[in-house]
Amino acid sequence: MVSKSGRTLLNLASLNRVISKRAFSNSKTLAAKQMTVRDALNSALDEEMTRDEKVFILGEEVAQYDGAYKVTRGLWKKYGDKRVIDTPITEMGFAGIATGAAMAGLRPVCEFMTFNFAMQAIDQIINSAAKTFYMSAGRVNVPIVFRGPNGAAAGVAAQHSQCYGAWYAHCPGLKVVSPYNSEDAKGLLKSAIRDPDPVVCLENEILYGVQYPMSDEALSSDFLLPIGKAKIERPGKHITLVAHSKAVETCLDAAKELAGKGIEAEVINLRSLRPIDIDTITKSVVKTNHLVSVEQGWPTCGIGAEILARLMESEVFYHLDQPAVRITGADVPMPYTQSLEVAALPRPADVVDAVKRLLKVK
């Protein structure tokens, strides 16, 4: 599958990179400003609050305490009680209040301490926020953002570690974004806030503190990323790896390792889970003829299941040289003990293993 010449090509390419790095050592990417995902989300909120006074934030501990994960740092000091509101501990209550405020024309950003606790409020999110526009025959829209950390953190076990990507992506009326790095976080959250429909923004607690480069464009207050568009995070031609959120990192790590073996994996960062950018995936699979989906959530009715089903239903099915494969979190609730926790999530080694099996290389 991966020929000798492929390997040479790859070496040439990396040589090229080295040369170009030397030649343009002051190039934009190298000089790009680093920013944590937390700060990127914070600046998205800050800029949108400045831009539109209808935007306000509510949730547990979001004001004086700056948010459980400090995403709203400084906003209460800047915008005051009127626009950054601490709530009593009633997720169903404040999700309902936010939904009502959106129905009345405001643009609430409703923070959940984690999406695990949004389960207490899911009736408001789905039965009210997602369905009202339709049920009112387009007369009442609900421009709201539900956001907070989603998926596995570290050492917090079954009730704090679940991925809700598939849950929300299932529901018509909602849009669902799942940013991976800082540019994603800023651009998607800003688009979500400006969107006329309800948007669920699934963040990742472990990524909050990680720094990623921000282009000049991304630093600007006009920076928006379209909801429903995926990004090719790393181009390649032998196999397509598709993922969202933290699993993008798993794929990039795997791709790095595979590159050492002469396999060029194309990594697609989904960015949005609903609508899902099936075109980008299709184009990639037509080129690579192989697909592996990677996610931290559970397998059954998951994001990978959806992608594989869509490929199966379309012409692109005939472009697959091997059955597509899903790599997911283990189909068990998240255990606490560290040794079990790592084994319950996809690791780069799992991806490498699957790719080698598909491409029949040792």
Binding site: Y65, D86, A157, S339, A344, D350
Partner: protein, 417 residues
Amino acid sequence: MGLNRSLRFAFNISKSWIQIYKTYSTCPKFPGAKTTFTNQLQFTETSSYAPIPIFRILGPKGELLNSSDEPKLSEEILLKMYKDMTVLNVMDKILYESQRQGRISFYMTSYGEEATHIGSAAALDLDDLVYGQYREAGVLMYRGFTLQQFVDQCYGNIDDKGRGRQMPVHYGSKDLNYVTISSPLGTQLPQAVGSAYALKDTNRVVICYFGEGSASEGDAHAAFNFSATLGCPVIFFCRNNGYAISTPVEEQYRGDGIAGKGPSYGINTLRVDGNDVLAVYEATKLAKDFASKEKKPVLIEALTYRVGDHSTSDDSSSYRPKEEVSDWLNNDYPTKKFRHYLESRGLWNEEHEEQLLAQANKGILAALSNGEKKKKPKWTEMYEDVYKFMPLHIKKQQDAMKDHLKKYGKYYPIDSF
């Protein structure tokens, strides 16, 4: 005959109609109405009722305020109560430190709230079922959970009865009738009512602990209402410690606190000084007797103060002044108060104290070094207990892991399982 019966029936109706007609002008007939009519249009305000007073036995220094209130507890029980309060404190200090050193991922202390745990635990029988929130380790300790068991849970090691599945401090013990702690706030309240409903035909009661923050969850409303309408022997025990992480009670509710809600649900209610272990004991005892005899719920609000940070993920100095905390630590601290009382009765002295502290320190450090050395649950266990009988698709995952480890086992700390 048929005609006769229908006549009698008609006659009955008209008789009750006459009665209603007679009283209609003064007594409302609305279903469930228990009041009278009025021609005064005025608000009922918070201040229309006197706030529920706080029951206490000991003064702020630990002095007995009224000699007739001397508790009828044996010396042995009094000393067990004091010792457990103190050991809980020492355990908290050491486990908190072990989190800071990265040995465990998370911990929550109970500083300042020892009396709510121990006073209430002492008033119950081991048979009674406990639903906790998470900050009630003292209740479990009083029931006989050993230091080693606490440590094993926090380490998620092979001797943890929870098999390393749950976060630290999410203790549970079937033997001690202590339901495993669940993270989502408030869920324990309706569950406790359900359990109490199931236990109605026994002499057992259920106690359900919750914070004043959790009382804002919709589940709390459902639990209060159902317990009253279904007549369930459950004690709702609110630890009102002033804060829900950073949210002070002033932002959590208006009105007469948590106790103020009780009567409006038709629940007999008590408010007690949660820093006075004897008062907590008496209140819980009264609640238990009432609940088990009458098959009705009781609400207790214990007023206390969370002296420690919310958890190891919190730094409380960012939302409350240090002086506020040190004030509670130095004045009206439950353990100190109780010690003063015991000393005034000649039951305790400095020498006893030093011995107890030395013993507690030693015990916990030994448990810690034991707990750390123990192996972790075997990786195969990750796939167990998802269902009673392991389905094929999970068995396949387990087998895949086995194959994976055959190949890559050398990269894993297999020896620690």
